[in-house]
């Protein structure tokens, strides 16, 4: 596998180096040819700064960026051979949508028939065939966004950068386009980086997701790994809908058991045999940990730890039950409609294989189920 993009120890400061706002902190990542990578995070996490540094619109304060094996962080955007789709208004106003999309191809002096055929293909993909002759000022925000996406995808570049490319589309169209765009990118073997704050989009499109927060890369892994083996408490709670339930717990070992004592005098009691030796050692040498459990993994059991139902919502295809539990709140998801009244007491069972344990201080993952993180 050839590496298309290599980011090495990159820092971004807005303002003077070391004194300005530290937007991206010591970021390193490698992206292979043909990969789709999503930069996922909330606003201000550094994902857009990262993308703009790759594109060449922002200076790299420290570190290096190499595109297709060549150092690129000192090159102007024109020399980097990357294509980019923009979130906002970025179409050239005096040109029609068709001319906008074909712009780069015309500059590359491709024959007219080829250009027309490529534009038609992209327009069909993005469902903008009927607005090709219109001007940007007369089409909606969502249509402008799709035209901008088309202008990027049609290009033959080393790297395609997509900055919130579907933020303004209606949910239905977004779902359809996600599939088509992924297919389009994969079919042509393009390499793409997608910036998004929508984890559904990241999960659906990306081969790997880079979760960012506070300018720091938290985890860079496949969607499945991120969900099953979050590297730290942030990733664990940020990715997943509804979010992971977290509680503080005190560890104590008795005979062949491991007890996780929760507030309000509750405790989770497990056989030591449920955990690998390394996990046992790691847990027992700590006093305080944070445990995490996905709402889908919480079970109800008559002999479970007691909790009081505070809300019960049927969402049409699943039930979200919120309960007061161990001095906090716990959400569990069930696939059937459940008759539970507010104030009713239920028993909670958390199976050891579904338990995520994090360090109380650093937030780094200690174990996922029976295995060490």
């Amino acid at each position: 596998m050839t590496t298309v993009l290599a980011i090495e120890n990159v820092d971004k400061f807005y303002g003077p180096v070391n004194h300005g706002v530290h937007a991206v902190k010591d970021l390193s990542m490698q992206i292979a040819k043909g990969e789709i990578v999503a930069l996922l995070g909330s606003s201000g996490c550094g994902k857009t700064s990262t993308l703009r540094m790759v594109a060449g619109f922002e200076e790299v304060s420290r570190g290096t960026i190499a595109i297709a094996g060549k150092p690129a962080h000192m090159l102007p955007p024109v020399k980097r051979n990357v294509a980019m789709a923009f979130e906002g208004y970025s179409l050239y106003p005096p040109l029609t949508v068709r001319e906008n999309i074909a712009f780069a191809l015309k500059a590359a002096r491709l024959p007219k028939a080829t250009v027309d055929q490529k534009v038609a293909e992209i327009a069909k993909l993005l469902e903008i065939e009927d607005i090709l002759e219109r001007y940007p000022s007369s089409i909606s925000g969502g249509q402008q966004q799709r035209a901008s996406l088309g202008r990027a995808l049609i290009r033959d570049a080393n790297l395609h950068l997509l900055d919130e490319p579907m933020g303004q589309l209606e949910p239905q169209l977004r779902a359809v386009l996600r599939g088509r765009i992924k297919h389009f990118i994969k079919e042509r073997g393009l390499t793409a980086i997608l910036v998004t704050h929508d984890q559904t989009e990241a999960n659906a499109l990306a081969d790997r997701i880079a979760v960012m927060e506070g300018g720091v890369l938290q985890q860079f892994d496949t969607p499945q790994k991120i969900k099953e083996r979050p590297a730290n408490l942030f990733t664990g709670t940020f990715v997943g809908e509804p979010p992971m339930n977290v509680f503080e717990a005190f560890v104590s070992g008795e005979a062949d058991r491991i007890k996780l004592k929760l507030p309000d005098g509750l405790a989770l009691d497990y056989e030591q045999g449920n955990f690998a030796q390394g996990v046992r050692d790691a847990l027992l040498k700590r006093q305080r940990v944070v445990i995490g459990i996905r709402p889908y993994a919480v079970r109800r059991a008559k002999d479970g730890v007691p909790a009081t139902v505070s809300a019960n919502q049927w969402l049409g295809d699943q039930t979200h039950i919120a309960a007061d539990f161990a001095g906090g709140s716990l959400v569990l998801v069930e696939h059937d409609r459940t008759r539970l009244e507010r104030g009713e007491t239920i028993g909670i069972r958390i199976d050891p294989q579904n338990l995520h344990v994090f360090d109380a201080g650093s937030g780094a993952a200690i174990s996922h189920g029976p295995e060490l993180a």
Binding site: R80, F86, Y92
Partner: protein
Amino acid sequence: MEHTSVLERVLRGAALTLVVIFFMFPLFWIFLMSFQTNETILRIPPSLVFTPTLENYQALITGKLQTAAGSLDIAFMRNLWNSVFLSVTSVAVSLLLGVPAAYAFARHKFRGSEDIAFTLLSFRFAPPLLVLLPLTIYFQQLGLANTYFGLIWVYQLICLPLILWIVRGYFEDIPADIEYAYRIGGHSWFATFRKIALPLAGPGIAAAGLLAFIFAWNNFVFALVLASADKQPVTVGALAFVTASGIQYGQIAAAIVLSITPTLALALYAQRYLVEGLSLGAVKG
């Protein structure tokens, strides 16, 4: 707006007519005066009935002013040429310097950028007379007094801040992503400036240039102090009509008509750019 009553429309029409008469009457009267002799202008009561004469214009164009005290040379055509030359060159220089500067201020935040921009604007805060005394002394020492070069330089005080600040706003209104898209599409920043930023801000630049031209044309005090007879623009040159044998109202009126004609023509021609400039926001959709 479509459901206005007849009364409302009549009242609005009357109000508009009043405003137009109020502002246009002086111009109209001056236009009439320019075709009259001093005697008919000064008769009491004034009348709209007179025999039109072209001798005011004739005097201005030939440069020979016939007064009761004899013939007087006036340099009106020379003044008019000075006005055109000074204003056009000043605005051209200002555009050349101000538009790239405005782009830099709009697009790049560099150290002290706001301070520099504000300093340039502050040229317009100081009363011209305050600046003039030291300026006159410096200009005499530098040998710039009474030269076109010096005058154009001083006119930058009028034109440059105006163009810089107006055009900067227009550049800021262009979504930066349009330029980014063009740059990533394989073009240098200079090509982006020329092909994307300049055309999109075009109406704004035209509007700013026009305003700067009018301000430069109407300037009086800089030229009064720093220019002698052969470099004077019309605003200063008009003083020559206050002669020993009285004020030449007819010639003054003709001079005014001639001197507002270029700006008026320019304003009428550029009106559509001004309107376009104001509706630039439509780009944002």
